[in-house]
């Protein structure tokens, strides 16, 4: 292997065996070490991995957590969601800006901090929250901002000007509460780690699949695809290597169930991966962990090390000579779209997270073109429980179509935000009663890509056959501004669109801009009609679920809250969207004149 001339880079490239498919690991290492990935580094990485610079740039420029220009010593990323904002994220952002003398998106003059907004970081139950590099700070207030900045300043080594190596900066409010409000069979402590694996190893692999089928387990990410069917398709794919991937890219705003499973029940999830590996004949598995959860990496690696000592990982698992299994954790780098399974696979292969067209499905041609089963964190935890307790016990809860329990992440206007394990089929009313929010104004079920539910529909059931959801339940009080929340969701999709297909790339940006006119009261009836028509085109023609569901908040609130739109409607037949006074400012300044206010 040729040297890149940078010892650190050479080491990182050697660590991944100069495998270009592991580009993400190398980029992440360089980003962490140097605070950015320079053009020179990109060239060196390309040379070291034997790829074109263009392909490195393609991936590097795609992810929000990589930067190509030098940034501050610390990256502070404040979570910007409707939930964080109702809990005061704007005031916290303002406090940071004031204290640092910068605007959002800028680096402080002393080079200490680069300050940015970011999409949801999985802390909806304890917002406002932020990432300070890989450290999470939660329940922020403007008052705590100076203490955080003081801690960061204190961490800088005066002689070198860089943070002291080795230990993380101890920060005030650096704490994450699990917030498990109601636990059920999934979040129980009854079993020991490995129990599910031991039960599985007593059966031939196809019998393990049969048990999952008997439990009628469906994917917990939201789509609800039958897990056993996915595994069978994968087993029936071309002979040879197979892959099991745990989708820990929990990016849907409002959800944090996987965070709790990974921080408090990691063994259960790894048990599930191992059982899947046995059932599929996969010798190894990859957990794709979102960059926002990188703070859990050390603990997760500790769990893996403990499992190795206990014979739950590596060769001859639980003394079963014929079955060995390895687990690797791959970090993402800030891209919501990578929660989509084919985009996740692209990212795992070291590319931009652009979804693939299907067919072929990943179960046939997935990771490295091999049959691949991508399963949600919660699904794999359920797999372990089914093997521990039997499919009948699992299927005894829930409904006919939706068996078992579901983890619901509740946030927003309720006295007890947190995680609720409830049987499938519970009504939204039932859930709101549990959370102490019976008089909610509306509930966003399933995150921005889900749908808004008005009080008249609170009797509907949370289940695949009615309101299907991955478990994000955002509760908004009756006084919240529906249109402003919809606008925030529209901004989210425009930020997170991968850009591959026209309707999503251009359409989400147009939806955002047009929704801004609606929210500002500048839209006419004709504009609302045009917005609805555009939303339909984006939903019908987009390539993947992101674009197909991006118009959901607009379309479902138009249906459920028409009076909110009507109240904001501009009565005129036509309203120009151009700010004509602002449009004159540049020439007025150039000529030492004043803009004309009245042009008629």
């Amino acid at each position: 292997m040729a040297s890149t001339g940078d010892a650190f880079l050479d080491e990182q490239i050697a660590l991944v065996g100069a495998d270009r498919g592991r580009l993400m690991d190398v980029l992440r290492a360089v980003q962490t070490r140097y605070g950015h990935v320079s053009d020179a580094s990109a060239s060196a990485i390309a040379a070291g991995l034997g790829m074109h610079v263009g392909d490195v740039i393609d991936a590097l420029s795609f992810y929000a957590f990589f930067s190509r220009v030098p940034a501050g010593r610390f990256q502070i990323r404040l979570s910007r969601t409707p939930i964080s904002r109702i809990h005061g994220a704007d005031a916290v952002a303002h406090a940071f800006c004031q204290a640092l003398g910068i605007a959002m998106g800028e680096t402080s003059p002393d080079g200490l901090v680069t300050l940015n907004w970011t999409s949801d970081i999985g802390m909806a139950d304890q917002e406002p929250a932020a990432l300070v590099d890989d450290v999470v700070v939660t329940a922020l207030t403007p008052e705590v901002v100076p203490a955080i900045l003081a801690a960061l300043r204190a961490a800088i080594d005066a002689s070198t000007g860089i943070p002291s190596p080795g230990n993380r900066v101890p920060l005030p409010h650096a704490r994450v509460h699990p917030n498990v409000i109601q636990a059920g069979p999934l979040l129980s402590r009854a079993a020991r780690r490995g129990d599910g694996i031991r039960a599985a190893l007593l059966l031939p692999p196809e019998q393990v699949v049969a048990r999952i089928a008997a439990a009628r387990l469906r994917g917990r990410g939201g789509a609800g695809f039958p897990t056993a069917l996915k595994w069978r398709l994968c087993r029936n794919g071309p002979d040879g290597e197979r892959h099991i991937i745990c989708n820990a890219d929990e990016g849907e705003p409002g959800t944090f169930k996987d965070r709790v499973l990974l921080s408090d029940f990691a063994d259960l999830v790894f048990d599930g991966m191992t059982i899947a590996g046995y059932a599929l004949g996969a010798p190894s598995g990859v957990m794709y962990l979102r960059a926002e959860y990188a703070w859990m990496l050390p603990a997760l690696h500790d769990v893996l090390a403990a499992r190795r000592r206990l014979g739950l990982l590596g060769g001859a698992i639980c003394g079963h000579d014929a079955f060995g299994f390895e687990i690797r954790i791959q970090s993402g780098a800030g891209a919501y779209i990578c929660g989509e399974e084919s985009a996740l696979i692209e990212s795992l292969e070291g590319k931009r997270g652009a979804p693939r067209d299907r067919p072929p499905f990943p179960t046939e041609h997935g990771y490295r073109d091999r049959p691949t089963a991508v399963n949600n964190v919660e699904t794999l935890a359920c797999v372990a429980r089914i093997m521990e307790n039997g499919p009948e016990t699992f299927a005894a809860l829930g409904t006919r179509e939706s068996t078992g329990t579901k983890l619901m992440s509740l946030s927003g206007d309720c006295p007890h935000p947190g995680l609720y394990e409830v049987p499938f089929g519970i009504t939204l009313n039932g859930l709101l009663d549990l959370a102490g929010a019976p008089d909610a104004g509306f509930v966003q079920v399933g995150g921005p890509s889900g749908r808004s539910v008005a009080p008249k529909d609170f009797g509907r059931r949370l289940a695949y056959e009615d309101l299907s959801t991955g478990g994000s339940i955002m509760i908004f009080g009756p006084d919240r501004d529906v249109l402003d929340i919809v606008l925030q969701f529209a901004e989210f999709f425009a930020d997170e669109s991968c850009g591959w297909c026209t309707p999503c790339r251009v359409g989400t940006a147009l939806l955002r801009d047009q929704m801004a006119h609606v929210a500002a009261g500048r839209a006419t009836l004709r504009d609302i009609g045009a917005l609805e028509s555009l939303a339909g085109t984006v939903a019908r023609t987009s390539r993947c679920g992101l674009g197909q569901t991006a118009p959901n908040p607009i379309l479902s609130t138009m249906r459920d809250f028409p009076e909110r739109y009507e109240a904001r409607l501009h009565a005129a037949d036509f309203v120009s969207k151009i700010d004509l006074v602002a449009a004159q400012r540049e020439s007025a300044a150039l000529q030492g004149r004043h803009p004309v206010e009245e042009l008629f």
Binding site: G54, D55, I57, F62, R352, R540
Partner: protein, 240 residues
């Protein structure tokens, strides 16, 4: 029917084709035109533009990336699908800068030609007015990213037929744009004017220098006949 032959209908017309074909290729061979922009018969389909979206067995899907299945029922020429296609074309017009009056590709531009075919008079969405650098570093090829519609044709062509990987993307979402390998612009790459990648651009983003206006306006590909006419001409008259 011979082995491997299968049959489907599109807008009520029955088409026989071979297994393994994409819907768009099968329809092209049968002389049935599905509007499209990013698809190129010589290149692996990338599914970017979604103009070839059809309703297939009740679901929307892009014809270029959908393999034919026996018995599939396809809707193509419907008011709803054509309205969606027109909206997509308008999105591409406002996303970039497409000044037809002084564009070298006028009359030979597939984006423009689709606008004509689908009856666009003017895009009604607000223009984005992107500002992109023009790359004039290559002696024989000119690259104007303001015209780029992100169809991936040049990326695919440079990878597969040319074996060079000159192009990739950079950025994401509405900021995504064409990246040229390395740092010295197109002139510092291995790209040559005879490359496939230099001849597949549907608009005037990649242009061969000193070649413009060789065919005068009024005599270009789409000046007299709508785009897709060549495909439709393949449709055999029923045997008499």
């Amino acid at each position: 029917m011979p082995l491997g032959t299968l049959q489907f209908t599109i807008d009520g017309i029955t088409v026989q084709t071979q297994e393994g074909q994409s819907l768009i290729a099968a329809c092209d061979a049968a002389g049935l035109y599905i509007p499209r922009l990013c698809y190129h018969p010589d290149l692996r389909p990338a599914g970017n533009c979604r103009v070839c979206t059809c309703r297939i067995d009740g679901h929307q899907a892009a014809a270029c990336v959908t393999p034919v299945r026996d018995g599939m029922v396809v809707e193509n020429d419907t008011p709803q699908l054509n309205a969606d296609r027109l909206a997509l074309i308008e999105m591409m017009f406002v996303e970039g800068n497409h000044p037809c009056p002084y564009c070298v590709a006028s009359g030979d531009c597939e984006l423009q030609a689709l606008g004509y075919r689908l009856g666009m008079t003017a895009p009604v969405y607000p223009f984005f007015w992107p500002r992109h650098e023009i790359d004039a570093s290559h002696p024989d090829i000119f690259l104007d990213r303001e015209r780029c519609i992100a169809c991936s044709r040049c990326i695919e062509a440079s990878r597969m037929p040319d074996g060079k990987s000159v192009f990739s993307y950079e950025g994401r979402g509405i900021a995504m744009h064409l990246h040229v390998d390395g740092w010295g612009g197109l002139g510092a790459t291995q790209m040559a004017a005879i490359d496939k990648a230099a001849h597949v651009c549907p608009v005037a983003c990649i242009v061969i220098r000193r070649d413009g206006y060789r065919i005068p306006n009024g005599q270009r590909r789409f000046d007299k006949t709508p785009i897709g006419t060549d495909i439709e001409a393949r449709r055999k008259a029923p045997p008499s």
